[in-house]
Subunit: 650 residues, 2 copies
């Protein structure tokens, strides 16, 4: 914990305890138990609360180093109001990075302060110069000698101050605990995901292959996504295989769910023969990389009854009293096609290493992004160990937690190493809900990176069933602009698929159980809106990392928020949340938060719709027809528009 300096303990007079008390170091997650998260290129703004008795001058530095190096870098902390010290350090390299604070009483500076005040008051300082000479004689003997002769110039010389600062006596220094920041690649903080089922990429309803999926990659790249995410690509078990729309029994030609992993042909490190070979996968990855797309694999730690590990490592599963293996249950529901692993197995070391080995296998095949299925049903200590090991060996790896569970469990997973997490965005629809959720997420941003998905193959929310194309655009814009990380499940989403299976929060003819044929060129496709949104995200730093600042409106169905980033134009997003009706609203901008002056005109350019306005002052009127475009994504430029600016839009 903070303040782990040697201190005066009950009954023990610790002689070396420091006079400075370090009360807090920020950022800090759970007292340093878990790392803070940043990405390469970020700066880390460090704040330290430190006090000492009396009026002496203190000094404080932050020391930092990569976790795998011994040498510290040192940055001076600067004292601000309320005994808070601040410094900003850069984070140029991937991996775990350590930071700590050291603070001490600066005897020379304290003495200089007294001297300066006496000099200003015209008081005799002969004795003070002698006292000062004692302080400096070891480090600066020539200055000490001059001070003994009464030289004020020697005592106050900048060189003396510099050398006394550089060679400060830190023997009584206090030290904070060593804290960790996990530095990931920038994609961990800003990413657009596109999920697709490779077997549905042939387009004619027959089982597609990784080669077919590879042919889809230019489409995904054109839409402006960063990551193409594939559901499990492994052999699918046949025992208790599910039929269409989760039917209890499958027909002979039903392909089964990709999450029922493993058959005699292989398990988590094999490719389903109907999709192709490992070589086809390597080819797919290379093709994706050529298009600047990362490939994300789905890691689902569970086995079909046909998985090779069931025979080879029976101790990795729970055995019941009759010798049968425990299948997944949520009594009275049974999931006989899925065997969970026994993380407390007698061969725990073997199982844990094998699971880590699954990630390593795919890392060796060029994968650096993993979407982890239901991590909240596997022990958190497993993840902390496994992801820690993987981050150490492959520091550019990103892990997305598919944890739709309770908030604190989601946060515990994030603390334990997941780079990103699915969220409740999928079900947050009203302005109040969305704004409150943004506030919640701001409070955990040091360790929890949300990834907003309007739908997934598992979740199709009610508002999209009835809202039509306007609802799909609304949710797309909200996901892509509220959160730097977002994703869609395609082509279902861009084609506006919205027929739900009765009584279930899922699409009918669910692609989890069937091969689907998609007409990407259908006129109703949202592909152009999606491409535009992704282009806006890429060209606007405010949308890539920025904090969301709610801007009040007088209409409960019109939500407005701004995002800002240093050195970049602010972006103002205004969404009509009603898919059926045109809405008008007065938006009251928090001009200061947007870097705008109250009396200054500013240019407001709609990056989505193309309209352009000049606004002045906080209160502004907007009107949004959802049939046309239910949202504005405004770029704000704090200057009066010139003719040239107009030309740009004409």
């Amino acid at each position: 914990m903070i303040g782990m300096r040697a201190h005066a303990l009950h009954g023990i007079l610790v002689m070396e305890c420091g006079r400075v008390v370090i009360l807090a170091v920020r950022p800090c997650v759970d007292g340093g138990r878990y790392p803070v998260k940043r990405v390469v290129g970020d700066t880390l703004a460090i704040e330290v609360d430190a006090v000492a008795d009396g009026h002496d001058k203190l000094r404080a530095v932050v020391r930092d180093r990569p976790a795998d190096r011994a040498e510290w870098r040192e940055t001076e902390l600067v004292l601000g109001p309320d005994d808070t010290w601040r410094a900003v350090i850069d984070l140029p390299a991937l991996g775990r990075h350590i930071y700590t604070c050291v603070a001490w009483v600066d005897a020379f500076a304290s003495w200089r302060n007294g001297l300066d005040r006496k000099l200003a008051a015209g008081v005799d300082v002969t004795l003070d110069l002698l006292d000062g000479a004692r302080l400096v004689e070891r480090i600066a003997p020539e200055h000490a000698a001059a001070m003994r002769t009464g030289s004020i110039a020697a005592a106050t010389s900048p060189e003396l101050a510099a050398v006394m600062t550089a060679r400060a006596d830190r023997s009584g220094a206090s030290r904070s605990a060593e804290l960790t920041v996990l530095v990931e690649r920038p994609l961990a903080a800003c990413s657009a995901w596109y999920e697709l089922f490779p077997r549905s990429t042939r387009g004619d309803g027959t089982h597609g292959t990784l080669r077919d999926a590879e042919a889809r990659l230019p489409y995904v790249a054109e839409l402006g996504f960063d990551i193409v995410y594939l559901p499990p690509i492994h052999p699918i078990g046949s025992a208790f295989r599910k039929g269409p729309d989760n039917a209890a029994t499958a027909g002979a030609n039903d392909p089964g769910s990709p999450w029922a992993i493993g058959n005699a042909g292989g398990g988590h490190t094999s490719v389903h023969p109907e999709l192709g070979t490992l070589a086809d996968f390597d080819h797919f990855v290379a093709a994706a990389h050529a298009l600047n797309l990362d490939v994300a694999l789905d890691i689902a730690f569970q086995a079909s009854p046909d998985h090779p590990w069931v025979k080879d490592h029976p101790s990795w599963f729970v055995h019941r009293s009759d010798g049968s293996i425990q299948y997944a249950e949520n009594p009275p529901k049974k999931y006989q096609d899925v065997y969970p692993f026994d993380f407390d197995s007698a061969d725990r070391q073997g199982l844990w290493n094998a699971l880590k080995g699954v990630f390593e296998f795919w890392c060796e095949h060029g994968v650096r992004v993993f979407r982890v299925d239901n991590p909240h049903t596997k022990p958190i200590p497993f993840w902390e160990w496994c992801l820690g090991e993987l981050h150490a060996r492959y520091p550019d790896t990103i892990f997305l937690a598919e944890a739709f569970t309770r908030p604190k469990l989601m946060y515990a997973l994030a603390k334990s190493g997941f780079s990103q997490s699915y969220t409740y965005f999928t079900w947050r629809t009203t302005k109040l809900e969305l704004e409150a959720y943004a506030t919640d997420l701001a409070g955990v941003r040091d360790f929890f990176r949300p990834n907003f998905w309007p739908t997934t193959p598992d979740i199709f929310p009610e508002h999209l069933e009835t809202g039509g194309r306007p609802a799909f655009v609304q949710r797309l814009v909200l996901a892509a602009t509220m959160s730097p990380n977002y994703g869609i499940y395609g082509p279902s989403y861009e084609l506006g698929e919205h027929a739900r299976r009765r009584g279930v929060e899922e699409l009918a003819h669910n692609e989890k159980y069937e091969v689907r044929a998609w007409n990407l060129d259908a006129p109703e496709s949202l592909r152009h809106v999606i491409a535009r949104i992704n282009q806006i995200r890429r060209s606007h730093p405010a949308l890539q990392r920025g904090e969301l600042i709610v801007q009040p409106t007088d209409n409960e169905l019109v939500m407005a928020f701004a995002k800002v980033a240093p050195g970049a134009h602010a972006v103002l997003v205004i969404v009509n949340l009603d898919p059926f009706h045109t809405h008008r609203a007065w938006v009251t901008l928090d001009l200061a938060s947007l870097g705008l002056e109250p009396d200054q005109a500013f240019a407001v350019d709609d990056l989505l719709g193309g309209a352009h306005f000049t606004w002045r002052g906080a209160r502004n009127f907007i009107e949004l027809d959802p049939q046309q475009m239910p949202a504005h994504v405004f770029e704000l430029k704090p200057h009066v528009r010139t003719e040239h600016d107009f030309e740009y839009f004409l």
Copy 2:
């Protein structure tokens, strides 16, 4: 820190890590670095955030013990919303008390939960009973045997559940760090202090003695105070002695400041001969105790140049280059009558032990309350060590920090062992300031206990110079009702002394430098108001410990707040902050926080002025004439008044 359970560390597969992750334990000061504070008879409401993967049932307990005993007591934590577990433990004894949380996956309860759900669904449970028999056979073999024959009754019997709960397998348990609560005597949390200079108790302007001061004790007790606090009672140095109102030189008969401690006759463990003998002091303490008054001594760790330690322990002071001892300075100001100690002395152990010995000496003479002068100019690690030692030996000792300094330094002292602290109340006068300060203090209540003083011998604020008697009553009521700990400097305060020394925030003819004669029976004395306020405090638990809840009013000069305590009537305090004019206001009560129903009439009895009303609903009107009484202190009784109630007031 929280979560110091064995965990999966980078590169080390720790096999014994627990599945439950303990994310937070509350209350907790700086991650457990400092103790939480409570008093004997308090309960400690503990909240734990703990999660585990999956849907298994967890169990969690809080364990606690006195720091000096080995045996733990155990209390079940109960799961509430948002993965928060709660328990309340009592704190029956003085001293340091340890608490920690243990949480684990309850295999039997998890199994029972599945069984119950299957039974409810009418599913066959034969195999489940066999599985359950394996779980229980070691602890309850007879139940296991019955379950193997298919006995649902055996599986679901309450005795089995009880024995499995009592003898739970905790081998995989997770443990939080051990946290400390410092349990002090109730007086640490609720106390009314009365400061008096013993030498001014003769009444005729000649130097009084401890015997004269003893004669004043019944008066102090009648006023309803708990603690009589004496400025330093030690021999006063004559070197550089200050004259009246801090004059640079003293006349032959000037008594000097009691804070210039020590002369050839003795130092911090001696009694000033003009005050009497150590025996007189013992007599004074006994007389005070007989009146249920605690005696507080002023501990000022500094020496006059005549202090015996200057000769006997020269190494305890800073020596300058010319061999002179460093006196206190705030350049260019000099305080040549005061030598600070050198806490970094080569004989540090000797000095620190001697200073601790000062407290011990007076503890042995029956003193259990100390007001510590300027603790913020002595090293915080010294206080943490010294007060820790003293609390261990004399756990009923209370320390008030006279730390008028920056907030974080005041908080650091509180964390390091001070029971109470002086505050900024003395300078907070507007409603906005007072309410904001109450909010600040609520945020630190687990370790910082404020003590509100309207004036001290060192501080006489401007508003009392001009506000007359109404201002004195206002500030008295605010101090005594906003804060469970408060004090006045008397008889100056009750006599309304208000002539300030020019250019200084101090009273003229300051008692620090002069013997004063006070006429306690002066008609303008506030003694009866003070006695009434102290009586109200003693009879109303809400004022002794309760949290302050602001109640909005529509008048910036009328402040209203409530205090509540479990099982006691709420108290509503309304103060006209303007000493010159009558004010009226509508007060909008937060009825829920006061335990009142919106449509229920309630009795409102003014404990200070004697008026009585029946109110109904949130909005109520008040009028306060400061010349009469600038405040209401209402007791709220949530019932319709009966005739009997009226009689009580007639």
